[in-house]
């Protein structure tokens, strides 16, 4: 933790906390996935969860979403304890989770449909977000007629359209090609800038985490805790094109790789 | 977990037979004996041997019919699968037979062949044959092209390709066709005993109904269902055992 760009916990206290996970443990039968994990997510920022496969990132995200119950501990979103899924959070699924029998428009509007929003209103809203993610003209298409990257954007538009405060994204870019991925990363940065939303982002890519995150939480293998929190700060306003060449960016990538490599071997 | 699933199976049997017992005790209908009464009747018929005599009678058309259907059905199926001409000519007949209520032919069969064994064997055959033929022909037609090419590359002749490649590759599906055929054959055998002339188990059912001996009637029906289900399960286990290799996944994984 000697590096200047790595800030310590007190910093966090000055920004408002949107989501906090406190002393979370989760067991699947005999498998201890999470043990006593505590982590806070500042409002309006993007926090990445980075860690070896099977360390419990998805589990943590689903607990925050209210899809899973923790064995111990609790999650607070905007000061309220999570007891189940709620309108303040939206999930972006790794495998998109699109309804194959529904058009893009209906898929994007589905979250609103379940909330009882009237048809014309939800379709207007959905159309706006479809355009926002760059899919204008594909409203009537079906998921099987879209490419992987386009499907992911449908999932993203669906999550955005319910206007939740917190977006939970489980490896959202893992199924798209490298070019699309880079484009998405830039879009994501813009999204974090423009919308005052809190993003929780799971990824396997160190570069991606450093590129998009305001805060990176590194998790250790099972039973998982947070081993380190890194807050890149220096290069965020140097423009999207320069980040990947910034020395600080490269240093942080190396630093994270150094702490993770033991677990890979 | 084995104990849990066994426990639940027992529990569900207890629930169902218990409900039967209670429904019989109320009774829901004058023609609804309790489970115990029916089991009593079953035990009585088993020990005085009448059940075995009846099954000897019932199984005759079934066994003969299934044997004929198997030999004929597999041969026709093979032929259809191997020859385009035969496929064109015969497939439609069996496809229609598969969808059609062939039981409607029974009155005609009785007129043509009388009320003896021949008619009953025929009923079993028309019920069992379509699925055997269609499974066999489908399996033969769908033998992966690469298998046949592999054989050809080792200079196998047509006979060898059929015997050593196509038949083994198709045998799991042919076998499950046979099992489905047996299942349909049971339906046919009992149908013919109830519809054509009461013999065997059909006779017990019909006779005990006519003298209002409902426990015996229920016992006979219970026994034929148990017999059919047990036999079909046995076939399925044999199938899993014989073709275990086919379920092990592909060599690549």
């Amino acid at each position: 933790m000697a590096m200047p760009q790595t800030k310590d916990a007190p910093e966090t206290a000055t920004t408002e906390i949107a989501v906090s996970a406190r002393n979370i443990s989760k067991n699947y039968g005999d498998v201890e996935a999470l043990r006593d994990l505590t982590l806070e997510f500042p409002r309006g920022q993007l926090t990445s969860l980075l860690g070896p496969s099977g360390c419990g990132k998805t589990t943590l995200l689903k607990i925050i979403a209210g899809l899973l119950e923790p064995t111990a501990g609790e999650v607070e979103v905007n000061g309220k304890t999570v007891t189940g899924p709620g309108p303040d959070r939206a999930f972006v699924f790794q495998d998109f989770a699109l309804l194959p029998w529904a058009s893009v428009l209906r898929n994007v509007a589905f979250g609103l449909e379940l909330r009882g929003v009237a048809k014309s209103e939800r379709e207007d809203k959905a159309a706006k977000y479809i355009a926002d993610v760059g899919l204008a003209g594909f409203e009537a298409s079906f998921p099987h007629e879209l490419s992987g990257g386009m499907r992911q954007r449908v999932g993203l538009a669906r999550a955005l359209s319910v206007d939740a405060q917190v977006l939970l994204m489980d490896e959202p870019f893992s199924a798209v090609d490298e070019q699309t991925r880079r484009k998405f990363q830039e879009d994501l940065l813009a999204l974090v800038q423009n919308e005052n939303k809190t993003f929780l982002f799971v990824t396997h890519s160190i570069e991606e985490a450093v590129y998009v995150s305001d805060q990176i939480a590194i998790l250790l293998p099972r039973p998982s805790r947070v081993s380190e929190i890194i807050r890149p700060s220096g290069f965020r306003d140097k423009g999207v094109d320069n980040i990947r060449r910034d020395p600080e960016y490269l240093d942080i990538v190396d630093q994270i790789w150094a702490s993770l490599r033991n677990y890979v071997e | 977990m084995l104990t849990r699933s066994l426990f639940l199976k027992l529990l569900s049997a207890v629930i169902v037979f218990g409900a039967w017992q209670i429904a019989g005790m109320i009774p829901v209908s004058y023609a609804f004996p309790t489970f115990m009464e029916s089991m009593d009747a079953l035990a009585r018929m088993t020990f005085d041997g009448s059940l075995f005599v009846a099954y000897g009678e019932t199984l005759k058309p079934l066994v003969v019919g299934i044997a004929i259907s198997a030999v004929l059905g597999i041969s026709i199926g093979l032929w259809i699968g191997l020859s385009q001409l035969f496929d064109w000519a015969f497939s439609p007949i069996f496809i229609v037979m598969q969808a059609a209520p062939l039981a409607a032919l029974i009155p005609l069969l009785v007129m043509a062949y009388g009320i003896g064994l021949t008619s009953k064997v025929f009923v079993v055959c028309i019920m069992a044959m379509p699925v055997i033929v269609l499974n066999t022909s489908g399996a033969v037609r769908n033998t992966p092209e690469s298998f046949k090419e592999m054989g050809a590359s080792f200079m196998a002749d047509r006979r060898q390709i059929i015997l050593k490649i196509i038949l083994p590759a198709a045998s799991p599906i042919i076998f499950s066709g046979l099992r489905l055929g047996v299942s349909a054959g049971f339906i046919g055998a009992i149908l013919s005993e109830l519809k054509i002339t009461p013999t065997g188990v059909g006779d017990i059912i019909t006779y005990s109904r006519s003298i209002a001996d409902y426990p015996s009637m229920y016992a006979a029906i219970f026994s034929i269902i148990v017999l059919a289900v047990l036999f079909l399960n046995l076939l399925e286990m044999l199938e899993n055992y014989l073709f275990e290799g086919n379920n092990r996944g592909y060599a690549s994984d």
Binding site: - | A104, M111, V229
Partner: protein, 250 residues
């Protein structure tokens, strides 16, 4: 099958078989096979008769009611079994037993319990159709992508919403497959029921024709029956193909 470079349509051989039938009939080889032309002429006569129309309407009522109950009870049961492990373990053995049991043996029981009428035939039809519908609906639910369900939950779907907007649709290809097979079985069930109870519908008609040795009548009714059964099964096969595009992509 190709002939001189032309592809012969799938079912065209039935025409050849029809001609063969005509020939055999014309030679008068056997009393049981009248010429096809005679059968077809009879067919048009028979269709107009009140006896035929009564049989047809009685059969249709029994068939549709039987299928209706099989679907309305079978699909929800199957979906619930796919969702709940306990229910599944309790019911699955019975579903499997009745799927392979010779259900004809149960018809006499239905006859003594529910009388020699419509009710017994409807129940027979339902019994023939329902088990495969349950089993397929269950299989359909069991293969549903977990994240579709979690997605719906995360947007706050009520159990009703989840049932009608996710489960039914996601399992639809399997459910339709089950309904198609169930309906083919129901056609057989309704005829078997009528044959055994034999005072209603086609069962009664067959008794009438065979008692009077009306061969052409008999075959005419058989043709109508088989053609309708085949058509029903083809319609459902078509519907099933319509939804199969997403079966692979769930």
């Amino acid at each position: 099958m190709k002939l001189f470079g032309y592809r012969l349509p799938g079912m065209s051989s039935l025409i050849v078989w029809g001609l063969l039938w005509e020939l055999v009939g014309q030679t008068g080889l056997t009393f049981f096979v009248p010429p096809l032309s005679e059968v077809l002429v009879t067919l048009f006569e028979v269709i107009g008769t009140p006896a035929f129309q009564k049989a047809l309407s009685e059969t249709a009522i029994a068939f549709f009611s039987g299928v209706f109950f099989a679907i309305v009870i079978g699909i929800p049961t199957g979906i619930l079994m796919g969702k709940s492990r306990l229910l599944d373990e309790l019911l699955l053995p019975w579903v499997n037993i009745f799927l392979s049991a010779p259900l004809t043996a149960l018809v006499p029981v239905l006859m003594v319990l529910f009388g020699f009428g419509m009710k017994s035939i409807i129940i027979t039809t339902t019994l023939f159709a329902i088990w495969i519908i349950i089993l397929n609906s269950r299989a359909g639910v069991m293969q549903i992508n977990r994240s579709l369900i979690e997605m719906a939950r995360s947007f706050g779907a009520s159990p009703m919403d989840a049932f009608f907007k996710i489960y039914v649709w996601a399992a639809l290809p399997e459910i339709l497959g089950g309904v198609r097979i169930g309906i083919i079985r129901a056609v057989k069930g309704v005829i078997i029921g009528q044959l055994l109870i034999s005072i209603v519908g086609f069962g009664a008609l067959f008794e009438l024709y065979s008692a009077n040795f009306l061969m052409a009548h008999f075959w005419a009714v058989l043709i109508v029956l088989f053609a309708m059964a085949f058509m029903i099964s083809e319609i459902f096969a078509y519907l099933e193909r319509r939804v199969s595009y997403y079966a692979a992509k769930r």
